[in-house]
Symmetry: C2
Amino acid sequence: MEEHYADSKAPKPLNLQARATRDDWLDACDGGVTAAQGFKAVGVHAGFRADPHRLDMALVVADEPCACAATFTRNVFCAAPITVSRRHLDDVGYGIARGIVINSGNANAATGSVGLETAERTTEIVGEALGCPPGEVLVASTGVIGQHLDVSPFISAMPQAVADLSCEGGKSAASAIMTTDTVSKEAAVCFAGDDIGYPGVTFTVGGMAKGSGMIMPNMATMISVITTDAPILPDVLHKALVNAVNKSFNKVTVDSDTSTNDCCFLFASGEAAPGALPFALDSSAYARFEAALDAVCQTLARKMAADGEGATRLVTVTVAGAANEEDADRAARAIANSPLVKTAICGHDANWGRIAMAIGKSGAHFAQENAAIDIMGLPVCRDGLTVLFDEEEALKRFENHEIVIDVDLGAGDAQTTVWTCDFTHDYITINGDYRS
Amino acid sequence: MEEHYADSKAPKPLNLQARATRDDWLDACDGGVTAAQGFKAVGVHAGFRADPHRLDMALVVADEPCACAATFTRNVFCAAPITVSRRHLDDVGYGIARGIVINSGNANAATGSVGLETAERTTEIVGEALGCPPGEVLVASTGVIGQHLDVSPFISAMPQAVADLSCEGGKSAASAIMTTDTVSKEAAVCFAGDDIGYPGVTFTVGGMAKGSGMIMPNMATMISVITTDAPILPDVLHKALVNAVNKSFNKVTVDSDTSTNDCCFLFASGEAAPGALPFALDSSAYARFEAALDAVCQTLARKMAADGEGATRLVTVTVAGAANEEDADRAARAIANSPLVKTAICGHDANWGRIAMAIGKSGAHFAQENAAIDIMGLPVCRDGLTVLFDEEEALKRFENHEIVIDVDLGAGDAQTTVWTCDFTHDYITINGDYRS
């Protein structure tokens, strides 16, 4: 009697497309939101938090008004600063802006018309200090919901903060936007313009993010600010940002795109090649910029997932062989959001039954007898049946920082990757305790 | 400056329809799956589990072949016994059956063609022992996934199990189907036939369920067997069951309807009124039966939710004022499945911000400024704004066994209720440990 798949034959490798590898023309570089030319930043303690040692306000400012694009949460309960920033980008998500101010400690969410006035007033305060119209200032907030945001820390802290803006300020800005993040998150890459029509020029894309709070469904407060010194027009910038966000931050489990305060901003100063023609949509220069932006966003997204509340492991879930993109996404998110899968990883249990159930209920189209699963490179399921695997080897691989789950639905050619983290006692402790 | 909603006015009561109260013609009664006339049951240790003190096989048998209806999981990875039981009910979900056998300890899921043979063979073994065709026997399994189910315990235990079938066997049967359930789950009600055309007759509806495993999204293994002595034809029975399940078991958080092994069976012996005309679909008798069935299913569903893994509280989420049924369900499930809401309850934190975010991202249609929320009867949000509440009173109410969350979306008249539990350290311990 056949007991398991592997009794009679060796498991076939999964039909995965090659994992994204960084292109060799792309170089990692130090820094974050001030890595690109034409930007200064600072993080200060303004007074939104009680602890005087904790930074709670970040400013990122371009030397001149420049192209800006943004993506915002679609949560009905969206926060006041989201509404105001959207307004300042003419409700289309792109335009010209000078900078952004972000406070932590209070989300200015569920605060009604008072909250909107506070957010507008905040942009006036920044505009006065920078000498620009408030309409060129964007604003974001993260922290407690349902409490009014006091505007006075902006007033008292702004003059010194503006005076302290610097090209090295990216690091303190990244710290100032943290809430329950355990580490600040920065990333930057650069690429040469030589063979794309900008000889002798090096372009940089860099950014910072706060993630966490919660990398679970529902309500991650995700804020990211990215800058580049490439010359790009606002509408083109917006297109690139939407694409990049869909392949990165929006792949950090379900609905991280829909919390009250989620937002991602991208500024382009053009300072790497002043006076040069902007990147055209179908050019090789734009293609390289897109890839560089993807790299920054995915690096930040992975850092967010790895720093989920209470997390000890980054979990990378790839679903291949799906009938279409939507099915791949649905199945991957079902796995990544399954508390049972996430607790199994916490318990170092290579439990493919829980993965199978998650894809089975996801709504993705496939036949049970065509499904195949690898956990950390170990085949555990083929043709919908158990493959016997080396449990000791599995335990060893669970020591890795990144746990890779690969699924082949055997129903088509679509593939996607999402990122999440394991689910631990610390998650319960943090969230049973912290009023967010 | 207006700080909060309650500064200027007293919070309006929510626009909730009256909570379902038990009709006065309906009486609770003792027992479960053998409360109705014409049924016997037994729970035994057959040997699927190593522990000889743990019951692991349940039989529920009608004295005569009778009407039967069932609902089954829609999970693509459905277990072998699901496929076989569906087949025995002619793939329409209703027919004539004699009884059902359920084992715990092994789910016979992801076991391929071997699993199907095992499930068919099981029905033959039961059929031989009862003296009925295997096609009149249904089968269900719960436990570990991806391991083959040994058929020999069925063979060795069946003669004694059949000999021990009794009208008092409902209790041991309910114990035998438990997995990580901490208590067995039974419920029964009865109603008089006097004013519905069956003078002098008392009809009973009773049942048992196993829930838990996991009351989280994805993959609750839910099995329930319900019996009645009312005279009802199979197709009518099926209609009643589908309706009842949709208002009860399927309301115990998202996707509990789609795990590999979920199933619910309903048998109708007609023994309360032998020879009487069956209940017609539009009759008052049928209406009473429907209400009685709803009561049994909802009682069992609430017991399942309250006994979620690691749970300390039953959480009842009602969303009213929705634009339509679907929106009400979507919003209620978003709340009930939010780990942040569930950990907040574990931490006794009346955190309406997390509830607001859950409904905001649910996709339900509403305007933020019309939303209102009560937690345990305390108004915490009106017009989308914070209502100041007595935190000490809230802490006191968190001591209750049942935590009630009520939401009014202010967008229409549709309302629904779902049940879940809080999210505790024990959940992580159980699931980081138990290979299910």
